[in-house]
Symmetry: C2
Subunit: 360 residues, 2 copies
């Protein structure tokens, strides 16, 4: 009855998911390592949904919750250890493949029932039941449909996944009966982060529609945005200051590159451990060269150890940067790709620029 | 019939606005000097609405359209000169007071009929007819209501401003009959820019609802965001690099300041004219100190000439920075204020920090 209407062969029906949940007691919810907004928010929302069904819940993620997500309700409920007792059902959210869970995924494979809930196009359908909508903005959006389907089922209301909610206020209210304010906050945080504050191509018609529905819960979107985007460590801006000074435009300004070096980390952090952790602060710096007027391809060179680089590529409108990344054994999508490379930076730049020219 | 239900004494009825428009032929649309997204987008949307009613239209703004708004349909139609011929009606958008139009506003006051369309709380009701909704996210939102009211009027459909559109698809379609795709792009650009990409407190329930309606027009929100946010001049990032290097945290990290100096402009721009223009590139830099974890008050010192500063203040959650600005004859709101100050920077900082401590 609630079979997906837009996800093709990836997905089983929502009914099958509900059956697995209803016939399980102890349920483990897991998400991917180095989790971001969609991962954490989705896992919490699933936990809250399960709690409303009186399940025993365990939330697992491999790495500590990032600073800017600790405001989320239940953020403290996550454990970085797998539960010792036997688990009836595992629900994995926001992972295209089970390996992305990181340490512990082998143990998880011994669990008898696995539900896979995701929106990645590359999802390999690893669950015993799969609920994957590749054109959803976020796993949060997928969960919105799933919770709405459950509300519709409980209240015997016709509802087609991916469509607007029923017009009649009373029916609409019942379809949303499984979503409370805290869950709305989590689902909104998912959409907000995975659409880059409604700036990416993932900011679809449906993403806006769901954001508008979630905002009926008085979730204070400005407060959520402030927590997520305005809790930067000072060190990140010190690094940004140094990194911006390396901005370089070539090919009539169509290609822009920027560097994050070990030297910069050395200057800002005293000890080796913090320098290593500091590497994470370079994340998303590639958006600065990308946002310069006239730039089509942006490249960020992150020096992970001496003369060893992690490269990020972004294209704005038409260039296929995955082809450049592939030259170095990396990959990704047309507009966002990455690879590793080593050697003298000047030589490396020369080669990379040359490959980039070919896809311009 | 379409009298506002939430704007109080500021506003006249939509019917009065429509009557003035319908009985005029040559109409001038103007907005404020140094226009940003909401100003330009709103003026264009009004122009398109008037064109659909077969009016002769003139678009005026004092300053050239910013680089990042030139993608908007009709952006080239603006003139920086007032029309020589007599005008029947002036429509001013996004101006709390007529003086904000800049040069030319005295001439405008001789026009017999003025309509004032705005969302600023401080709007002083300067028009012969006023349509001001202080709790709207943007003038674009106000125009959405106005256009919807016109569609409803033409099609004899009950519609209350500020409420969701009619449920029946056919009625809804008719209420929206005055809004085409290009106008939807403009109204969306208004909301996007005036909510800071849905991050400010102006990102209300209604703002999301309208964004979701506008997205039914296939307006490609990612493309609009790219044009608006990703057309930065390289020089802006060169300045940002230098400015970030001045970041200073005091009072246990609750106060953060950052500087934009003449010296920085001298280093980046050759001639005096460009240095002067470059001052505009410091705009919004105050958001960087504001977005640091733990910071409550952010201050940006912009050196406009030797030892002369323009100060911007931002508070995050509770401090009233307008009180600090008032000490120097400036003003603003609780969370965003500004003032001018002169003198040696170190002494100035000392005094400012002291005043800030008092409102923490």
């Amino acid at each position: 009855m609630y079979r997906l209407n837009n996800a093709g062969s990836f997905s089983d029906s929502a009914d099958e998911i509900f059956h697995l949940i209803e016939t399980s007691k102890k349920i483990l919810v897991a998400t991917h390592e180095n989790p971001e907004g969609d991962a954490i928010s989705s896992a919490i929302a699933v936990g809250m949904f399960l709690k409303s069904l009186d399940k025993e819940i365990y939330l697992y993620d491999k790495d500590p919750i990032p600073l800017n997500l600790r405001f989320l309700p239940w953020a403290k409920e996550f454990s970085q250890k797998l539960p010792a007792e036997p688990i009836d059902l595992l629900i994995v959210v926001d992972c295209g493949e089970i390996q992305r869970v990181g340490d512990g995924y082998e143990n998880m494979l011994t669990i008898n029932r696995i539900i896979n809930i995701d929106h990645h196009f590359t999802n390999n359908n690893f669950g015993h039941a799969n609920f994957v909508i590749p054109d959803a903005s976020s796993t949060g959006e997928v969960l919105f449909y799933l919770f709405a389907a459950y509300g519709a089922k409980e209240n015997k209301i016709e509802y087609k996944i991916g469509e607007e909610l029923p017009y009649k206020a009373e029916e609409r209210h019942r379809v949303l009966s499984k979503i409370n304010k805290d869950m709305a906050i989590c689902l909104y945080a998912s959409i907000l982060t995975d659409t880059g504050s409604f700036r990416y191509a993932s900011a679809t018609k449906n993403a806006f529609y769901i954001a508008s529905v979630l905002n009926q819960y008085d979730i204070a979107p400005a407060k959520i945005a402030e927590e997520i985007y305005e809790t930067k460590p000072l060190e990140q801006y010190k690094l940004l200051s140094k990194s911006l000074a390396t901005l370089e435009l070539v090919q009539d300004g169509k290609i822009a590159s920027m560097i994050g070096s070990k030297q910069m980390l050395n200057e800002i952090f005293q000890d080796n451990e913090n320098q290593q952790k500091g590497l994470a602060l370079f994340e998303n710096f590639v958006n600065y060269p990308r946002s310069i007027n006239g730039v089509e391809i942006a490249i960020f060179f992150k020096e992970v150890s001496f003369n060893e680089y992690r490269l990020s590529f972004r294209a704005k409108s038409y260039a296929d940067v995955s082809k450049v990344a592939e030259k170095y054994g990396g990959g990704g999508h047309k507009f966002a790709a990455g690879c590793k490379a080593s050697g003298d930076l000047n030589n490396l730049k020369k080669d990379i620029y040359e490959y980039c020219r070919k896809v311009l």
